[in-house]
Symmetry: D2
Subunit: 413 residues, 4 copies
């Protein structure tokens, strides 16, 4: 288990750090001002495109993509510290073209797309010219159980699929640049449980597609990207839009979810690190009852625990990354589940303490803390709620115990 | 310790419950629709005035006011179940003219106002015709230590006070009907610590008053009431606007904070109760892994703990109320501090679990949960953060221990 | 809901408090010295019988028994503060003849015993002359599910029952004065689930009864009472030893468990209160880093939370007691389950913090804290583990939710 | 950061694992039987010497000692997995001559001892022929603040030190083979704070030394080693018994505490791992409510969290070890403090859950869980309580924040 930064990683860390200091942090306020000044919240603040141009020129672009034909060709372990740094600022991931769900969609297309699909959709995504969404979650079923998906994808003749369903939490679908959806649905409800699902490419402007409304996250609309509710009514796309083939949806989901989950976790660590910075800076600079708040030991406890949790979570994230690189996503399944449980919960606790340190300012828009909290809270639900990942881990532990002891678990389980 | 509902209380419980069922719950969606449909979020949705008229006609009005010359004449214990019921809906407290900070401001005026002050400001507040704000918290100091207040109130000649300062978290000051502020400031920074502060009445339209902007709470602007930042620059008011006299500000704050805190706690319990209702209803109605989510024991744990925490917190709230009624707010200081610590933390945990039960819908605007969470989180900071109340309680315990043992605590403490 | 102490209760509170101060606390050290000085740990330290004689003479005897033919005739609510006081000292419950499992056994005999059974066993128990044990838990099955009981009680001819089984956690069975066991077993494994079990009286000296060994609780043997493992091999008792009749075992268990559980909870509150006293006294009397430990705010947090948890738990306990008195044990089932979950967990947290305050001394025998902790930990398992009580509560909540919404829960639950 | 096992470490892991399987686990029961069968609990069960002989013959001896003149010459990182494995069994550390406090005492002598001191005491300790104790903690002061030490070491003439003081928690001093004490005391109470203390060698049989009594840990006497209270009354030793020189006591303490603390943490991880094994094996093998307990999701949560906490704590432990190897104990101070906070708390939670899984058996002597719990609870106090380590970490964070922001922390801190 070797977490040593490669020379390549080290160099990227320096460059991304400098870029954040020079360009991203100073632009945070501008971004919000431009967004709030506009009479249309669903327009991209101009500073974003400026930053993207700079990042691309600086060679800090598509860092997440391990396939060096398309991206930086970094291993998961090499990308980890970079993703962490981008997690420190809500606007950073997009600046480097590394934001979800586009990163996952690009990875999906890079891995499973045909050449034609790559030409048409991957290339403009890699260039940052268009955006995409991933339509998986549905309003009427418990999405924590992926087999509950109800959206139907039906072959009509030989050449057309007809899609009907209702999706929500389609993040990024509110973005005016969003042009393509990857839609998960069922092609064969009679097939075995994990062969019923398929993924298919649906251009946003296809007739029958209606982006109904943005969902809010706490009170945030997360404009201009948004988390949208989308109706798919008799949506017709060419048969070649299917990804990988019918019945391969679950397999693709598995393939994309590993990297997607760990990227979120890496960023959560950066978010937590920034919250801790803000908290400690606040605590040393205010007085209560005749001494700096930092000198009150209840805050020593919270700050020390924050550092402890960040350190441990980062190490676990590195281990999961290292395993994905060395033994593959499937063998790293337990570690990915573990980090997915750990990272947002860790970040939430630290941000919450930071909010308490700031008092009213902490819940307001004057610090990034409340927005950070809201987003991290979503991450305990997105890509599988904690309960599902705990189930995964526990079942592996029980299986090990059964193997050690020879006890056969009853069929009822 | 007798928590038995009086006949009067029982009758009010029935009437408020019916009114909630018949009028308030059905109007929640309307209120939000009217608010969101308006091109000005700082306008009162018409349904609110309709509801207020109905509530007043039904005799469900100013229930919080123990002085029966002005309000319902209920004891704190009698009011507790009513406040709890209104805590179930975000729009309910205003419907019954029992919402903060107007309720605290009315109580302050009723207790400490001159007849002229009552005529001019208390009467229209009691009628629900105008609204008010309480300007205490300041942006540049740790407000958890009340002696940090910096706003100055200076006598100019004999007849005028000049006020200079910056306030924020002035809740309700965004309301178009808000006409009067109660402002906390320092009249004599050289006086002994708790005699430096005074409270003074400042009409909102006084020159020098600038309502700068609304603060957000986890992305919510809480329009049309709002939590405002306010600049007071050479604001001049007649000397008779002072409340009770110079140097009495801390005393008035103590007087108003007891009832104010417990009213928040009562409503937190109602909020938690509704979150638990929503959670259980969701859990029995969705399936994962082949059975209702309710049949997964991890949810048994959360639901049982929720019921436990609600029960215990309600009982503590009743005890604090009963003590306020029987031995007075000062003797109930420990109990008020305890319930202030307990109630929002309890509610937050339950709402958070309810959010988890709902998945993405839980953080969205489609359930009231995320808004409930945001507000309860504020209540861990408002009217003194948890840390200050814990300090109050602990010091009383240490004092008891010192009395038992004869140990003298060192001066250093 | 009226928790006012009756005059009778008040008078008893004063008398028990005085008796504790005058006789019990001063004897704690003596009891331990006599126990440790003896070469046989399974002998009663003489000071215990002295204390019992005094308590009986003072009329502080069998306070737990609501039936005034046998005991003090106090309601559950009246007994609550008395049991709490006895929970402050590990030796106190026996002094007042109110200790488990004798109290539960006496109550069982008083409620369900025949006159002959009462004459033979209840009277000497009431007099404190003999002791008893309750043989329910078994080593080979999960006792949290009462239907798992395996011990067999088989009728042989008309006049004799033959009992075979293995029991453990038979508390008090190590006591040299222990003469009678109440044994739970199955008379009819084919009957419906809750009619299979019966309870039967087994004198300890019956052939076939072997008290195998004491179980330890952490490192404590809890001599001279002990928690024993007992073998029952072809144990023959007269048919009239059955309690209430065949198949009534579950019913009797329900009847005795309500009071038994709440008595433990009352005592847990007293234990917690004493731990808090010890903790605060320690914190004000030691210095670290130049000031009393009490002045370090991390301890303010723990002490305030301790007071909060004690207050809330006590109130819940009083509510459960009041309900048992007013609507009966069955209708109070949810409240009994809630307090059973709450009380030991609350006590454990406070004792653990007190241990931390004491440092090494806290885990040693020089304070009562470690022994308190060990016993409270058992109470999270005894009379049903937390999980079972949470299940009870949650299912009642889900049932309410189903009633509110009309949703029918699937059979699978 | 490279945690890859060296070939040497890998080989040792295999050998220690095999030795545990072949010899140690099977001897656990024997050890307890021999201890309990003896009429003197302060005699070494013969199986221990047999195991030691085997371990030494197998070359699995003094693995902890990085100095290859005396021990295995392993780095801290290499030793980590071995210490973890020995932490799985309470008897294992001694078998490999790696148990506290002998390991720390040997390391102290190896690093700071004169040749004569090494000949006389280090060699027989290395051979496992004698045992030692470390007399630091005192009953009358808060030992969490090391400057509170009161034991006096006074030069009498040129050649003799006279020692007076009272110590407790002198672990291992009850061992019949214990021959030497390292005593911490003050040689110069007027010197600057961290130069007042010295360490000195005191043979156990020196006149004036009285081993008063064993302290218990949750009822356990931890015989035959024991945690002893010791009186030092006019104890005279030759001046050359001083370690390193007068005023160097604090420095030596710092030197020994780093490795000592991390060794405890490594073993805590092994303990937690074994508790998790026991828990999962139990959960799959018992049924409640018609299915294996493992199928109840509340246990999925606990098991998954256990795995998560073990993984994260182990990684942090490896990081601290790696830093000690690469940048030294001083530069690793924060990481050592962090792991010292994390490891026992993590283990306690997992053991507590395992106890709950086992029911009554969990608190008894029939599983190792209760003893594990008791010992891990001590480790939250030993070598500095959590609060002190949190203070260390927090102050480093606040210092970083001050450096980042240029804010000067007030003198009052």
């Amino acid at each position: 288990m070797d977490f040593t930064h490669s020379d390549k990683a080290k160099e990227y860390i320096d460059r991304v750090t400098s870029f954040m200091d020079d360009h991203v942090y100073p632009a945070e306020a501008t971004y919000n001002e431009q967004l709030n000044a506009s009479d249309d919240r669903w327009k991209i603040p101009p500073v974003m495109e400026t930053l993207k141009t700079k990042a691309r020129a600086a060679g800090l672009w598509n860092l997440f993509l391990p396939d060096d034909r398309f991206g930086a060709g970094l291993s998961v372990l090499e990308y980890a510290p970079l993703a962490e740094i981008t997690g420190r600022s809500p606007i950073a991931p997009e600046v480097f073209n590394c934001n979800a769900p586009d990163s996952g969609n690009m990875e999906t297309l890079a891995m499973y797309g045909t050449d034609a699909q790559k030409d048409r959709w991957l290339n403009p995504l890699l260039a940052g010219d268009i955006r995409s969404a991933f339509l998986m979650t549905e309003p009427d079923v418990a999405s924590s159980d992926a087999t509950n998906v109800q959206c139907s994808i039906t072959l009509e003749g030989n050449a057309t699929y007809v899609i009907n369903g209702r999706k929500w939490w389609s993040s990024g679908a509110g973005d005016p640049r969003c042009e393509i959806f990857i839609v998960m649905g069922k092609t064969d409800p009679q097939a075995e449980t994990h062969k019923q699902q398929s993924m298919i490419l649906v251009p946003r402007d296809t007739p029958g597609v209606t982006v109904k409304r943005p969902l809010t996250v706490f009170g945030y609309d997360d404009a201009p990207h948004g988390h949208m509710e989308i109706e798919l009514k008799d949506v017709r796309v060419p048969a070649e839009n299917i990804l990988l083939g019918e019945g391969r949806g679950f397999e693709i989901a598995q393939g994309r979810l590993g990297p997607g989950r760990i990227h979120h976790c890496m960023r959560s660590i950066g978010t937590a690190e920034r919250a801790l910075e803000l908290m400690t800076e606040r605590l040393i600079s205010r007085q209560v009852f005749g001494k700096p708040i930092a000198a009150h030991s209840v805050w020593e406890e919270r700050v020390a625990n924050a550092r402890l949790e960040i350190e441990m979570t980062r190490l676990l994230c590195l281990k999961a990354a290292w395993m994905m690189d060395t033994v593959g996503n499937k063998a790293a399944r337990k570690e990915i589940a573990l980090i997915k449980i750990a990272a947002p919960t860790m970040a939430l606790k630290i941000i919450d303490d930071a909010i308490q340190a700031f008092g009213g300012e902490g819940v307001s828009g004057d610090t990034p803390l409340a927005a950070m909290y809201s987003w991290q809270r979503c991450l305990r639900l997105a890509d599988g709620p904690d309960e599902v990942h705990r189930r995964t881990v526990a079942r592996m532990e029980f299986k090990d115990a059964a193997a050690r002891t020879g006890i056969t678990l009853g069929e009822k389980r």
